[in-house]
């Protein structure tokens, strides 16, 4: 018998955790002498009050959907993939190589192959930690952290020594050719008569991200492979007893996870910057952890949480622009969300379980 009804687990606990995180954030804003109500109003206006704001919110949300799904699918297999940042960096390299080396006739074709390249590079970066976990039992959290730092060094080397155009001081590739320009939401929505801001970076990769959410949902809950991944995550001895190969399942789950993290690069490298720069990921790989925790590792939850964090990101940028609150406020909010929905989950869960048990006893 479950201690709690399912809706409490899926909806109530995340909402309470989110409320606690918001409350503490408000206290932090008060602490530095600003008005939390005015700050929230400014954030809502800046992030959701115009199609320009929405364009940025959705652009960030696209990044977070990919990295959130990456963390979520690994979590279903019982693995904590903290290496989304490094996998997304390598994904950027894949996108840059696809876009620069091949003269594409049209963006649609380029998008397909850039996504493939990004996924391939991201998956490759996840492959070694996955193999070491599956075969040699090295803790995947530590190896993926190490691979984040190695990825930063690799990217630094490649950008400074190999891909930097002649005569440029900036450690970045040259601009991608015009043919691989991805249509922005403005260009997509204009033909059907919807006016959308021209300067916002949200682009067609948003649809790819939504497709990825759908793909992960199908994979996890509607395929034998998804069943194997979930069984392994619930109990490794149980899965092994049922004839599921843990090595194979760990490898596949991590490769998909790495590929998803890598595909983020289609949005930020190909869709926005249109060249590969140093630190293109801007910590989105780590926000994926908060997004997956918040979304309870469910693709629909990840979708909603990604939009929430997109809003926080764009709203935070507006705050930094108009008030003296620095952008780092978002990092604090992100930390509080991770803390309450992840590490302190039991703090909310234990009293709630007691309340529900008491209520059930009262009924009988």
């Amino acid at each position: 018998m479950d201690k709690m009804p399912k809706w409490a687990d899926v909806v109530l606990i995340p909402l309470i955790s989110l409320f606690l995180a918001a409350l503490l954030s408000a206290l932090v804003i008060l602490g530095i002498g600003e008005d939390p109500v005015a700050a929230v109003k400014l954030m809502v206006d800046g992030a959701l009050g115009s199609t320009y704001g929405w364009g940025y919110t959705l652009y960030y949300a696209t990044n977070f959907m990919f990295t959130g799904l990456a963390v979520a699918i690994a979590a279903h297999a019982g693995l904590f993939n903290i290496g989304g940042e490094g996998q997304a960096m390598l994904g950027g390299l894949g996108v840059a190589l696809v876009c620069l080396l091949i003269p594409w006739p049209h963006w649609t074709l380029a998008l397909v192959f850039a996504a493939l390249g990004a996924g391939l590079f991201g998956a490759a970066w996840a492959a070694i930690p996955a193999y070491l976990q599956a075969k040699r039992g090295s803790h995947i959290v530590i190896t993926t952290i190490m691979f984040n730092f190695i990825a930063a060094a690799v990217l630094n080397y490649v950008l400074v020594n190999l891909l930097r155009p002649e005569g440029s001081m900036d450690p970045a590739t040259e601009r991608f050719p015009e043919a691989v320009h991805l249509p922005s939401l403005h260009e997509l929505l204009a033909p059907i008569g919807i006016e959308f801001s021209k300067s916002a970076p949200a682009n067609v990769s948003l649809l790819v991200a939504v497709g990825a959410c759908l793909f992960v949902w199908l994979l996890i809950w509607r395929t034998p492979l998804g069943y194997e991944i979930r069984s392994l995550g619930k109990s490794e001895p149980g899965a092994r007893y049922a004839g599921i190969s843990s090595v194979r399942t760990i490898m596949i789950a991590m490769l998909i996870s790495g590929a998803l993290a890598g595909m983020m690069a289609v949005n930020n490298v190909m869709g926005e910057a249109e060249r590969l720069v140093l630190n293109a990921t801007e910590g989105a790989g780590f926000i994926g952890i908060a997004v997956a925790l918040m979304g309870r590792n469910h693709p629909f939850g990840v979708f909603l949480a990604a939009i929430l964090f997109g809003f926080l990101y764009q709203g935070g940028a507006e705050l930094a622009l108009w008030t003296s609150i620095p952008r780092e406020l978002i990092v604090v909010i992100q930390a509080l969300v991770i803390l309450f929905t992840g590490a302190l989950d039991n703090m909310v869960r234990m009293p709630l379980e007691r309340i529900f048990l008491a209520m059930r006893k009262g009924q009988n």
Binding site: F80, F147, Y157, E328, V332, A335, L339, G342
Partner: protein, 321 residues
């Protein structure tokens, strides 16, 4: 490379290895007691800020050190509450602490000093000054050994000596005292410790707090001795290098010192030379940056002796009823 260059290189190795060593020993206590800590970085960062901020405000570096240790202990306590009392995921708690420190330090610094998320530069009594060992001046004329003593061993901040003395102290506490035996036991088999009537929760909190204390000293060293003031993200991954060193040392104090000196040397080389020419092959500076992490992965992979973590590491202890 002449003798003096080597001495200077080793001197900067000692300076750069000190924060790594303190953080590494901090992690050693925590992980030996079965509490994974990937929040070393965050605790160091928080301590770096508060030590620099209080030292700048009061002009007294010792008050700064205390404030740094206090802030680090606070985060350690949070990690303890999340991972011991509420039996939450220790790794997720560590991630949250890292972000909390990264955000809060800049937020408070901006509110306090209005200098774009940094503290004012520390001057005079706000910094740890070099500490001369006895006879350093008069012995400097002795060939070979003179410079080694007066340049390399003498003239560091007091915290450097504390860090290196912490190595035998850690070894003694962990392997020669009753507390140490119990602490190691709680990381291997907490149920056995509980059966013997010793509090698992108490021991684990003690370990987490020692970890906070050492991280606090490490952060204070960064901001008030190695550099003069706090700048945003000044730990720059040192907490993770310390974690790497801890695995590299297979959770043993003396080996931890060796690993930290090795990783400190790599940092010192990367700082001094950009690209190194070795017989026609150029080693890029990025390879130096990545080497500690690559070495750790190799060790983790078990190709050079297997690194086996404490057995109960990362698992919350639930008492049987």
């Amino acid at each position: 490379m002449d003798f003096l260059t080597i001495i200077q290189l080793l001197d900067s190795t000692v300076r750069l290895a000190t924060p790594l060593l303190l953080a590494c020993l901090a992690g050693l206590f925590s992980e030996r007691a079965g509490i994974f800590d990937i929040g070393l970085e965050g605790k160091m960062l928080m301590a770096a800020f508060f030590s620099a901020a209080v030292a700048a405000a009061t002009g007294n570096v010792w008050l700064g050190l205390l404030a740094g240790i206090g802030s680090s202990l606070l985060l350690a306590g949070l990690h303890g509450v999340a991972s011991i009392t509420f039996r939450g995921n220790q790794l997720i708690s560590g991630v949250a602490i890292n972000f909390l420190a990264a955000g809060m330090t800049v937020l408070i610094a901006q509110d306090w000093f209005q200098q774009g998320g940094r503290t004012p530069s520390l001057i005079g009594g706000g910094r740890f000054t070099p500490f001369d060992l006895p006879f350093a001046e008069s012995l400097s004329g002795v060939p070979v050994l003179g410079p080694v003593y007066s340049e390399l061993l003498s003239g560091h901040s007091i915290l450097v000596y504390i860090a290196f003395l912490a190595v035998p102290a850690t070894w003694w506490v962990l392997f020669r005292t009753r507390f140490g035996l119990r602490l190691r036991a709680v990381g291997e088999n907490p149920a056995a410790v509980d059966t013997a009537g010793v509090s698992v929760v108490g021991l684990r909190y003690a370990a987490v707090m020692i970890c906070g204390l050492l991280c606090g000293i490490a952060g204070a060293y960064l901001a008030t001795a190695l550099q003069a003031g706090f700048v945003k993200d000044m730990t720059a991954g040192r907490g993770f290098i310390a974690l790497a060193a801890l695995i590299f040392a297979k959770w043993r104090p003396w080996h931890a010192m060796g690993a930290c000196l090795l990783f400190g040397l790599l940092q010192a080389i990367a700082l001094r030379f950009q690209n190194i020419e070795l017989g026609g092959i150029t080693i890029p500076v990025q390879a130096m940056d990545a080497l500690p992490y690559v070495l750790t992965v190799v060790i983790l992979a078990g190709f050079v002796g297997k690194a086996i973590p404490p057995r109960a590491g990362g698992e919350p202890y639930v008492k049987e009823r």
